[in-house]
Protein backbone atom coordinates (compact mmCIF):
# COMPACT_ATOMS: atom_id res chain seq x y z
CA UNK A 1 0.00 0.00 0.00
CA UNK A 2 2.63 2.50 1.18
CA UNK A 3 6.35 1.91 0.54
CA UNK A 4 7.70 -0.32 3.35
CA UNK A 5 9.86 1.62 5.81
CA UNK A 6 12.70 -0.90 5.65
CA UNK A 7 14.03 -3.51 3.24
CA UNK A 8 12.45 -6.89 4.06
CA UNK A 9 15.75 -8.72 3.72
CA UNK A 10 18.50 -6.55 5.19
CA UNK A 11 16.62 -3.99 7.30
CA UNK A 12 18.09 -0.93 5.64
CA UNK A 13 15.83 2.14 5.71
CA UNK A 14 14.51 2.62 2.17
CA UNK A 15 11.29 4.61 2.73
CA UNK A 16 13.49 7.68 3.02
CA UNK A 17 14.34 7.56 -0.70
CA UNK A 18 10.91 6.69 -2.11
CA UNK A 19 9.65 10.21 -2.83
CA UNK A 20 12.75 11.13 -4.81
CA UNK A 21 12.81 7.79 -6.64
CA UNK A 22 9.13 8.17 -7.56
CA UNK A 23 9.60 11.72 -8.77
CA UNK A 24 12.69 10.97 -10.87
CA UNK A 25 12.19 7.44 -12.15
CA UNK A 26 8.43 6.84 -12.13
CA UNK A 27 7.03 10.25 -13.00
CA UNK A 28 10.24 11.46 -14.60
CA UNK A 29 12.04 9.54 -17.32
CA UNK A 30 15.40 8.88 -15.67
CA UNK A 31 16.91 5.39 -15.62
CA UNK A 32 15.76 3.72 -12.37
CA UNK A 33 19.12 1.94 -11.95
CA UNK A 34 21.06 5.18 -12.11
CA UNK A 35 18.67 6.94 -9.71
CA UNK A 36 19.07 4.12 -7.17
CA UNK A 37 22.86 4.31 -7.50
CA UNK A 38 22.76 8.02 -6.79
CA UNK A 39 20.43 7.55 -3.82
CA UNK A 40 22.87 5.05 -2.32
CA UNK A 41 20.50 2.07 -2.52
CA UNK A 42 23.19 -0.44 -3.45
CA UNK A 43 22.14 -3.97 -2.54
CA UNK A 44 19.75 -5.78 -4.86
CA UNK A 45 17.47 -6.68 -1.93
CA UNK A 46 16.85 -2.96 -1.27
CA UNK A 47 16.61 -2.11 -4.97
CA UNK A 48 13.83 -4.61 -5.59
CA UNK A 49 11.79 -2.98 -2.79
CA UNK A 50 11.77 0.27 -4.75
CA UNK A 51 11.50 -1.13 -8.28
CA UNK A 52 8.62 -3.50 -7.53
CA UNK A 53 6.56 -1.19 -5.33
CA UNK A 54 3.04 -0.02 -6.22
CA UNK A 55 1.22 2.67 -4.26
CA UNK A 56 -2.35 1.54 -3.55
CA UNK A 57 -3.67 4.32 -1.30
CA UNK A 58 -5.52 5.90 -4.23
CA UNK A 59 -7.10 2.55 -5.11
CA UNK A 60 -8.49 1.78 -1.67
CA UNK A 61 -9.37 5.36 -0.66
CA UNK A 62 -12.94 5.33 -2.17
CA UNK A 63 -13.91 2.26 -0.10
CA UNK A 64 -13.17 3.84 3.26
Amino acid sequence: MMIPVRCFTCGNVIGEHWDEFKRRAREGDEDPGKVLDELGVERHCCRRMMVSHKDLVDVVAPYQ
Binding site: V13, G15, E16, H17, W18, Q64
Partner: protein
Protein backbone atom coordinates in the same frame (compact mmCIF):
# COMPACT_ATOMS: atom_id res chain seq x y z
CA UNK B 1 44.61 -12.34 26.53
CA UNK B 2 46.22 -8.93 26.83
CA UNK B 3 47.31 -8.12 23.29
CA UNK B 4 45.98 -4.93 21.76
CA UNK B 5 43.90 -4.82 18.60
CA UNK B 6 45.13 -2.79 15.70
CA UNK B 7 42.26 -0.97 13.98
CA UNK B 8 42.54 0.73 10.61
CA UNK B 9 39.68 2.37 8.70
CA UNK B 10 39.53 1.49 5.00
CA UNK B 11 36.31 3.27 4.07
CA UNK B 12 35.26 5.65 6.83
CA UNK B 13 31.69 6.87 6.84
CA UNK B 14 28.92 8.08 9.08
CA UNK B 15 26.41 5.32 8.37
CA UNK B 16 28.46 2.79 6.45
CA UNK B 17 32.12 1.96 7.00
CA UNK B 18 34.77 -0.69 6.45
CA UNK B 19 37.65 -1.21 8.84
CA UNK B 20 40.40 -3.74 9.42
CA UNK B 21 41.11 -5.24 12.83
CA UNK B 22 44.33 -7.15 13.41
CA UNK B 23 45.17 -9.40 16.33
CA UNK B 24 41.61 -10.53 16.94
CA UNK B 25 40.61 -14.20 17.13
CA UNK B 26 37.64 -15.43 15.08
CA UNK B 27 35.65 -15.93 18.29
CA UNK B 28 36.12 -12.34 19.42
CA UNK B 29 35.41 -11.01 15.92
CA UNK B 30 32.11 -12.85 15.88
CA UNK B 31 31.40 -11.72 19.45
CA UNK B 32 31.76 -8.10 18.39
CA UNK B 33 29.53 -8.66 15.36
CA UNK B 34 26.83 -10.24 17.46
CA UNK B 35 27.10 -7.50 20.08
CA UNK B 36 26.61 -4.89 17.34
CA UNK B 37 23.44 -6.59 16.14
CA UNK B 38 21.82 -7.67 19.38
CA UNK B 39 23.33 -5.90 22.38
CA UNK B 40 23.51 -2.22 21.51
CA UNK B 41 20.21 -0.61 22.55
CA UNK B 42 18.38 1.92 20.38
CA UNK B 43 15.15 3.87 20.75
CA UNK B 44 12.14 2.63 18.86
CA UNK B 45 8.42 3.36 19.10
CA UNK B 46 6.76 0.58 21.08
CA UNK B 47 3.31 1.81 22.18
CA UNK B 48 0.95 4.08 20.25
CA UNK B 49 -2.15 5.76 21.66
CA UNK B 50 -4.37 6.85 18.77
CA UNK B 51 -6.52 9.93 19.20
CA UNK B 52 -7.88 9.77 15.68
CA UNK B 53 -7.07 7.63 12.68
CA UNK B 54 -9.38 7.99 9.70
CA UNK B 55 -6.67 6.99 7.18
CA UNK B 56 -6.94 3.95 4.91
CA UNK B 57 -4.63 1.93 7.18
CA UNK B 58 -5.53 0.19 10.41
CA UNK B 59 -3.99 1.40 13.68
CA UNK B 60 -1.81 -1.72 13.90
CA UNK B 61 -0.32 -1.19 10.42
CA UNK B 62 0.62 2.37 11.27
CA UNK B 63 2.04 1.18 14.59
CA UNK B 64 4.25 -1.30 12.75
CA UNK B 65 5.55 1.36 10.38
CA UNK B 66 6.29 3.72 13.27
CA UNK B 67 8.28 1.05 15.09
CA UNK B 68 10.61 0.70 12.11
CA UNK B 69 11.45 4.42 11.94
CA UNK B 70 14.99 4.83 13.33
CA UNK B 71 15.33 7.33 16.18
CA UNK B 72 18.63 8.98 17.12
CA UNK B 73 19.96 7.52 20.35
CA UNK B 74 22.48 9.71 22.22
CA UNK B 75 25.26 7.98 24.09
CA UNK B 76 25.23 7.61 27.85
CA UNK B 77 22.21 9.79 28.68
CA UNK B 78 19.64 7.00 28.82
CA UNK B 79 19.30 3.55 30.35
CA UNK B 80 17.58 0.52 28.91
CA UNK B 81 13.84 0.77 29.55
CA UNK B 82 13.73 4.59 29.42
CA UNK B 83 10.72 6.05 27.62
CA UNK B 84 10.47 9.13 25.37
CA UNK B 85 7.11 10.37 24.10
CA UNK B 86 6.55 11.46 20.50
CA UNK B 87 3.43 12.92 18.94
CA UNK B 88 2.09 13.46 15.44
CA UNK B 89 -0.89 15.42 14.16
CA UNK B 90 -1.46 15.64 10.39
CA UNK B 91 -4.66 16.47 8.55
CA UNK B 92 -5.31 15.54 4.92
CA UNK B 93 -4.83 16.13 2.10
CA UNK B 94 -1.16 15.57 2.98
CA UNK B 95 1.33 12.81 3.61
CA UNK B 96 2.43 12.18 7.18
CA UNK B 97 6.23 11.86 7.20
CA UNK B 98 8.54 10.63 9.95
CA UNK B 99 9.82 14.22 10.10
CA UNK B 100 6.38 15.33 11.34
CA UNK B 101 6.90 13.38 14.57
CA UNK B 102 7.44 15.77 17.44
CA UNK B 103 9.61 14.48 20.24
CA UNK B 104 9.42 15.47 23.90
CA UNK B 105 13.21 15.11 24.09
CA UNK B 106 15.33 17.11 21.64
CA UNK B 107 18.04 14.42 21.66
CA UNK B 108 15.69 11.69 20.43
CA UNK B 109 14.56 12.59 16.92
CA UNK B 110 13.71 10.60 13.80
CA UNK B 111 17.03 9.87 12.07
CA UNK B 112 15.41 10.10 8.63
CA UNK B 113 12.79 12.76 7.97
CA UNK B 114 11.35 11.71 4.63
CA UNK B 115 9.91 8.29 5.42
CA UNK B 116 6.24 8.33 4.39
CA UNK B 117 4.04 6.97 7.19
CA UNK B 118 0.67 7.25 5.45
CA UNK B 119 -0.85 9.32 2.69
CA UNK B 120 -3.97 11.15 3.90
CA UNK B 121 -6.79 12.12 1.55
CA UNK B 122 -9.19 15.03 1.87
CA UNK B 123 -10.78 15.08 5.34
CA UNK B 124 -8.68 12.25 6.75
CA UNK B 125 -6.93 12.88 10.03
CA UNK B 126 -4.13 11.13 11.92
CA UNK B 127 -3.31 12.06 15.47
CA UNK B 128 -1.53 9.97 18.07
CA UNK B 129 0.91 9.91 20.93
CA UNK B 130 3.64 7.27 20.93
CA UNK B 131 6.12 5.95 23.48
CA UNK B 132 9.64 5.11 22.27
CA UNK B 133 11.51 2.66 24.47
CA UNK B 134 15.25 2.07 24.69
CA UNK B 135 15.82 -1.65 24.26
CA UNK B 136 18.31 -4.03 22.59
CA UNK B 137 18.04 -6.03 19.37
CA UNK B 138 17.66 -9.17 21.46
CA UNK B 139 14.07 -8.25 22.34
CA UNK B 140 12.93 -7.04 18.91
CA UNK B 141 14.60 -6.52 15.53
CA UNK B 142 13.37 -2.92 15.40
CA UNK B 143 15.84 -2.11 18.20
CA UNK B 144 18.84 -3.27 16.14
CA UNK B 145 21.27 -0.43 15.60
CA UNK B 146 23.50 -2.32 13.17
CA UNK B 147 22.20 -3.22 9.72
CA UNK B 148 24.00 -5.84 7.62
CA UNK B 149 27.01 -6.15 9.90
CA UNK B 150 29.57 -8.66 8.69
CA UNK B 151 33.24 -9.48 8.40
CA UNK B 152 35.66 -11.32 6.13
CA UNK B 153 39.23 -12.42 6.46
CA UNK B 154 41.81 -10.02 5.11
CA UNK B 155 43.27 -11.77 2.06
CA UNK B 156 46.81 -11.80 0.81
CA UNK B 157 47.40 -12.22 -2.90
CA UNK B 158 50.74 -13.61 -4.02
CA UNK B 159 51.94 -14.11 -7.56
CA UNK B 160 52.96 -17.76 -7.99
CA UNK B 161 54.14 -17.60 -11.61
CA UNK B 162 53.14 -16.70 -15.14
CA UNK B 163 49.96 -17.92 -16.75
CA UNK B 164 50.38 -19.92 -19.95
CA UNK B 165 51.28 -17.52 -22.73
CA UNK B 166 48.58 -18.50 -25.21
CA UNK B 167 45.93 -19.51 -22.72
CA UNK B 168 42.65 -17.65 -22.52
CA UNK B 169 42.62 -16.27 -18.97
CA UNK B 170 39.43 -16.91 -17.01
CA UNK B 171 38.13 -14.33 -14.56
CA UNK B 172 39.39 -14.84 -11.01
CA UNK B 173 36.71 -13.27 -8.86
CA UNK B 174 37.52 -12.22 -5.30
CA UNK B 175 35.52 -10.02 -2.95
CA UNK B 176 36.62 -8.17 0.14
CA UNK B 177 39.89 -6.42 0.82
CA UNK B 178 43.34 -7.64 -0.20
CA UNK B 179 46.72 -6.95 1.28
CA UNK B 180 49.13 -6.20 -1.53
CA UNK B 181 52.02 -8.69 -1.62
CA UNK B 182 53.10 -8.45 -5.24
CA UNK B 183 53.17 -4.74 -5.97
CA UNK B 184 55.65 -5.09 -8.84
CA UNK B 185 53.09 -7.14 -10.79
CA UNK B 186 50.10 -4.87 -10.11
CA UNK B 187 49.91 -3.40 -13.60
CA UNK B 188 46.73 -1.40 -13.13
CA UNK B 189 48.01 0.57 -10.15
CA UNK B 190 51.38 2.25 -10.78
CA UNK B 191 52.10 3.37 -7.22
CA UNK B 192 51.15 0.12 -5.46
CA UNK B 193 53.43 -0.86 -2.60
CA UNK B 194 53.55 -4.08 -0.60
CA UNK B 195 51.29 -3.94 2.42
CA UNK B 196 48.71 -1.66 0.78
CA UNK B 197 45.08 -2.42 1.59
CA UNK B 198 43.05 -2.52 -1.61
CA UNK B 199 39.28 -3.03 -1.77
CA UNK B 200 38.48 -5.47 -4.56
CA UNK B 201 35.97 -3.00 -6.06
CA UNK B 202 39.03 -1.03 -7.20
CA UNK B 203 39.73 -3.67 -9.88
CA UNK B 204 36.15 -4.78 -10.46
CA UNK B 205 36.53 -7.81 -8.13
CA UNK B 206 38.60 -9.62 -10.77
CA UNK B 207 42.22 -10.46 -9.94
CA UNK B 208 43.10 -10.88 -13.63
CA UNK B 209 42.47 -7.14 -14.04
CA UNK B 210 45.10 -6.34 -11.43
CA UNK B 211 47.64 -9.04 -12.23
CA UNK B 212 47.21 -9.70 -15.96
CA UNK B 213 49.00 -12.79 -17.25
CA UNK B 214 49.94 -14.03 -13.78
CA UNK B 215 49.06 -17.10 -11.78
CA UNK B 216 48.01 -15.94 -8.31
CA UNK B 217 47.48 -17.58 -4.94
CA UNK B 218 45.09 -16.19 -2.35
CA UNK B 219 45.60 -16.81 1.36
CA UNK B 220 43.64 -15.64 4.39
CA UNK B 221 45.73 -13.49 6.72
CA UNK B 222 45.42 -15.10 10.17
CA UNK B 223 43.65 -13.06 12.87
CA UNK B 224 42.95 -10.10 10.59
CA UNK B 225 39.33 -9.29 9.83
CA UNK B 226 37.71 -6.67 7.65
CA UNK B 227 34.40 -5.54 9.13
CA UNK B 228 31.67 -3.99 7.05
CA UNK B 229 29.25 -2.13 9.30
CA UNK B 230 26.15 -0.12 8.49
CA UNK B 231 23.85 1.56 10.97
CA UNK B 232 20.20 2.50 10.60
CA UNK B 233 21.03 6.12 11.50
CA UNK B 234 20.45 5.87 15.26
CA UNK B 235 24.15 6.61 15.76
CA UNK B 236 27.40 6.63 13.77
CA UNK B 237 29.32 3.47 12.91
CA UNK B 238 32.09 4.49 15.30
CA UNK B 239 29.67 4.80 18.20
CA UNK B 240 28.05 1.47 17.36
CA UNK B 241 31.38 -0.38 17.41
CA UNK B 242 32.52 1.30 20.63
CA UNK B 243 29.24 0.53 22.38
CA UNK B 244 29.34 -3.07 21.15
CA UNK B 245 32.85 -3.54 22.54
CA UNK B 246 31.67 -1.98 25.80
CA UNK B 247 28.74 -4.39 26.20
CA UNK B 248 31.10 -7.28 25.46
CA UNK B 249 33.42 -6.05 28.24
CA UNK B 250 30.50 -5.58 30.62
CA UNK B 251 29.32 -9.14 30.02
CA UNK B 252 32.82 -10.55 30.57
CA UNK B 253 33.11 -8.59 33.82
CA UNK B 254 29.71 -9.87 34.94
CA UNK B 255 30.77 -13.45 34.26
CA UNK B 256 34.01 -12.95 36.14
CA UNK B 257 32.23 -11.59 39.22
CA UNK B 258 29.63 -14.38 39.18
CA UNK B 259 32.21 -17.16 38.83
CA UNK B 260 34.51 -15.83 41.54
CA UNK B 261 32.94 -16.83 44.83
Amino acid sequence: MTNDFEVEFIEPGERSARFLVRGVSPAVANGIRRAMVADVPTFSIDTVRFVENSSVMFDEMIGLRLGLVPLSTPIGDFEEGDVVTLALDVEGPATAYSGDLESADAMVQPADENIPIIELKDGQHLEFEADAVLDSGKSHAKHQGGVSVGYRHLQRVEVAGDAGEFEEQEPNILRGVIEEAAAEHADADADATDGDLVATDAFDNDLTNRYPGKEVEVHDVPDAFVFHVETDGSFSVEELVLRAAETLGDRAAELESKVAI
